[in-house]
Amino acid sequence: MSLEKLKPYFPWITLAALVLVVGAINPSFLNPASLVQLVADIVPLFIMALGMTFAIYIGGIDLSMQQVANLVTVVATVYLVQYGIFVSLLCIGAGFAIGAISGWITTRQFVPSFVATLAMGFIALSGARFLSGERALSMNAEARDASFGWMFGNTAGVPHELVIAGILLAIAWFLQTRTTFGRALKAVGAGELAAVASGLKVDKIKILAFALSGTFAAIAGLMFSVKLSGGDANLANGFLILAIVAVLVGGTPLTGGVGGVINTLVGTLIVVVIRSAMVYLDVDATMQQMIFGVILIVAIAMTIDRSKMRIVK
């Protein structure tokens, strides 16, 4: 089997190798119960990475996700008592709208997505700061349990968070592989010019892709907020780079068109294993971001399709 044919399996191989290595260093890592808990803990990150997959799959990127999640933690905390469970609609609507605006700026104003989403992220951050009065807010515990208590808990030993993640993954996977929208995303990512020449509504597809990434960011923020029982304009900080790393090491390159949501599942697991390995190896917390920065650069350099990138600026 040639190296080129093996390439799609690299993420799986990496994951298996990492699990074995970390397991060898610290056998308690492989304890099923602790593994399940470990995975359940990163569900918000996984959801954010799922959303990021859509943006990266079409060859763009969404740098606003972390700030959208921050905003949503504040919105959820502030309006929970007032709206109950329907605050989730408000949150998801906000995420969808911010993503759609980013998409509109990218496609109609020709602002590259990394700048458009970065700018929208700052706008969301301002919103979060304004709404929270720059304080860390805590949720009304009673209202939280009444509306969102179901998110956390176990059924037959399976954490509900994992069930939610599984459902979202299934939806995202169905969208990607079975629908005309998913096919169009692939066409835009792999060959936008050919998609235009086939009469696809490329702008609309791109706007929807960013709206989806915003939506997933909002869901991640909502879960995070409920989990930590509070809201704060900085609550989700540190998630953005992990989400990008998860998508890229999973095998969806920045140039888009290949990979997808299953790859992101693998990528997120790789990120989790690396993070716990750093804990076992006593890597200083201040160093962790640096290590993920290095992994990010390596992952981009290894996965990018250079035939699509003649000029890099």
Partner: protein, 501 residues
Amino acid sequence: MYQLNKVDKKFPGVHALKAVDFKIGRGEIVGLVGENGAGKSTLMKVIYGAYQPDGGTITIDGKPVRFQNPRQAMDHGIGMVFQEQSLITNLTVMENIFLGFEKQFVRFGVINWAAMAEAARHQLRKVKLAIDPATVTSKLSFAQRQLVELAKVLTLEERIEGDLVILLDEPTSVLAKEEVELLFSLVRELTSRASFIFVSHRMDEVLELSDRIYVMKDGEVVDVVTHDEANIDAIQHKMVGRDVDKQYYREQKQRPYDQSRSLVRFDRVSLAGKYSEISFDLHPGEVLCLVGTEGSGREAILRTIFGLEKPSTGRVEVKGKPFDRANAQEAVARGVGYVPRERKVEGIVNGMNVYENMTLSQMGNYASNGVLRIAEEKALAEDWIKRLSIKTPDVYKDCGGLSGGNQQKVVLAKWRSGGSDIFLLDHPTRGLDIGAKEDVYDMIREMCDDGAGIVLVADTLEEAIGLSHTILVLKDGEFQKRFDGSPGDKPSLYDLVHHMI
């Protein structure tokens, strides 16, 4: 003096050069002819150092050389005059001439412009071009730019000791008759210092200028003829491997078209900066060919019909209905199919498989409520793979990995299976081998028999003449002349060229 021995070059899926022997003597003018895809450009690129051969040797005066890049080739006296003009249009003439070689004019880190202008004037005198070297290149005519390109290459005269080899790639394609004459006399004069390799599609010009002519076909040199022995018919025969006859373009299958209906109507349509006051009708069963040089407005007209460009004035009708607020989706919905020139970039999606590519323009027909019926897509792909004998292992094969001819068949299948009956074909046979070209010609006739109308921008003039019912000649965006192309009454190459330039 300059010699290639058994030079081989392979690309994934293509054996571009097969043991090519080539030599050029001091002061000689060598012609190089062959169809598109015969390997001419690959050979040129090997000669000027853009490609490195996989096998064989290159020698200059018997000494083996190997160029890693064009700059090294230049250092050995080999220069290239590019067909697609390599001048940077927002720089001045002198900046272009000395681009990358400004060092000779630099004093204390600053360019001495007066010295550069003087040196540039010297180069321009060689090509008898009396222009101010400080002119911005975009202000020059195409002919002038072509001469500046030549002047740029001729700076090798001062830089390099010894012999020069200068490649001319289609230097006459944008030139008028007198300008061609001027260029030729210049080249003849310059043979005192340099040898020339002359590549052109215009057979008569190659015959006129060259001392010897290399004929290429399918990556091989099939013949070398001297000036005195050369005969156009014999060379063309060698180039295509058979007589260029009516059979080749399927003229026997050309049937009269249905004049009573109009599929596309242009009524005095203009697009600012591209074309103006263009009128025509496309009928069912008609092949309408737009002929003109690059930039004559051919492509812009195709893009207008596909809704990618909005005309500034005039009226476009598609199937009797106005096409005012048109976009590509609307065009597809009205049955327009677009086969773009850049097949690998715009035609197929590299990275998607055969059935995904075939249904890309018509996913709605294979989906219920946005959910794809993939089994039906595969069945469609299998059907068309059989009908057009597309060579692919299965429907899951990435289209980027198919050969050019099979990619083109996938693109055509995409539109035909979607029920398109107005086809816009932009260089549909570019880069295809001869068998694949003939398949495309067959398909064009078939589509006409099915009542489709075709607007064609052909790869060569011969192709345009051979295939079309109607030819519109354009020049600088303006309509020049309409020719009728009924079998047996086709215009000649000369008729067309006469109006093109």
